[in-house]
Amino acid sequence: MTPLLHAEALGLPGRLAPTDLGIDAPAFVCLVGPNGSGKTSLLHALARVGKPGGTVRIAGEDPEAHGPGTRTRLLTYLPASRDIAWPLSAQDVIALGLPPGGVADPAVEALETAEFGHRRVDRLSTGERSRVLIARAVAPAPRLLLLDEPSANLDPKWQLRLMGLLRKLVETRGIAVVAAMHDLDLAARFADRLLMMKDGAVVADGAPRALLESPHLREVFGIVRGSAGWELV
């Protein structure tokens, strides 16, 4: 069977050491690691942003062989920045992610952006704007959904609803989600697999619970789980 994602020798000079990554079946994969560990760089390399090295095949297809309009069938990418330079309405921002005449995946309704669809994104709260931008990435129903800190700026309720939506997309649409996350507990609760990164390389890869119990956590983050939650070493 063709793997959902097969990436070889992904690299960005000075930011990401050559990295292989395979996702065989639909899965929710979280990237964790301290600031500057290379999570965004790995997402960039997968999304083919900034002339990265290596090759990416999504369900056997090369995303770089697809131009605007068809590439979103394979992958979409949510950058960490939530800024939009122009006074566009929320629904227009979501439409920018779709090919001309394309219809949004009904799954985006779970993000409840319709209630402020006509409002300008620069007048929304940061959390509302985040939901709009996530909806923009989800709308074209890509096979590989790449998200940089999707839960940032969201309140606790919306963090849970977002993670639930991503899980549901993996299960019902059969896609792969790769998300950079800072909230280790949230990642462990919803993800199928964690990739732990340090200094531009993946240092551990495995089931979330096992990885967070492993000595890698102490090495990579400099924290341990104590009685009151995470504590400094």
Partner: protein
Amino acid sequence: MTRRVTSALGVTLLLLFALSLATPWRQLADLVAGDRALGLAVLQELRLPRALLALSYGAVLGASGAAIQALFANPLASPDLTGTTGGAALGAVLSAYILGFSGPVGLTAGAVLGALGALFVLLALAGRRAEVATLLLGGLAISALAGALTTVALALAPSPFAFYDAYEWLMGSLVDRSLAQAAFAAVPALAVTLLLARQAGALDSLALGEEAAEALGYRLTRLRVGIVCLSAVGVGACVAVCGAIGFIGLVAPIFARRLTRGHPGRGILPAAMIGGALMTAADLVTRVAPMGRALPIGVVTALLGAPFFLWLVVRMRWSLAR
């Protein structure tokens, strides 16, 4: 933008164009009544090139203003504020007075190279996603430098009449250009306008940020170089024939985006239509100066555009203070 708004813009543009051909009506009517051939010659040799130049120069300023603003993600980037028109003027003066290529090809090549130089210096100075401050300061510095160098070039020119000769052109003028000269500016200007409008989708996606646009499959380096070169060719060709005319490239896109619900790329075509209309209207204003005098059109656009710019500054201050 709805079809109705597009047609309304188109009709306004046509009306202004017709008005530009017909104004002042009395002289034309008298001429045609006295000598039909002479009247038609005036219409064809004097008024038609002028109206064509106003339309195409305004259109290319509007379109390249909209494209440059979309590219820099900055509503204040325009051909004049980025130093593009100033660079084009310097290039044309250097070519005509220092190097001695005063034919239309030499002038146009000089202006296009000058405009290209200014835009690439600005890209290097202000960076890709330019902050308002760095962009305006960079543009100001380039404009000032280009202006000063233009003056130096004219002062050092072998011809002692260089200043006098270039004055009218430097202030911006659409008057007394031949149909051939008009075509020399209008053909590249209209072609550039259409080519820029083809980039609407890419520039709209750029609203999501460079990373998102690149992940969508747009090639940003190619887009950036393409927009800069197209703008330089279009604006340069017009500056070579008509001199530097300011503010249209700033104002037209701002109005245009109100018609496209804020979409910067989709605003290119309406910005071109509004730019053409504004330039034609400004040219009509130059004809109502008292005592049969003619105002330079660059002065009219500055007189109308500068207060608009001030209003923008006040509005920005207000929105920052909120």
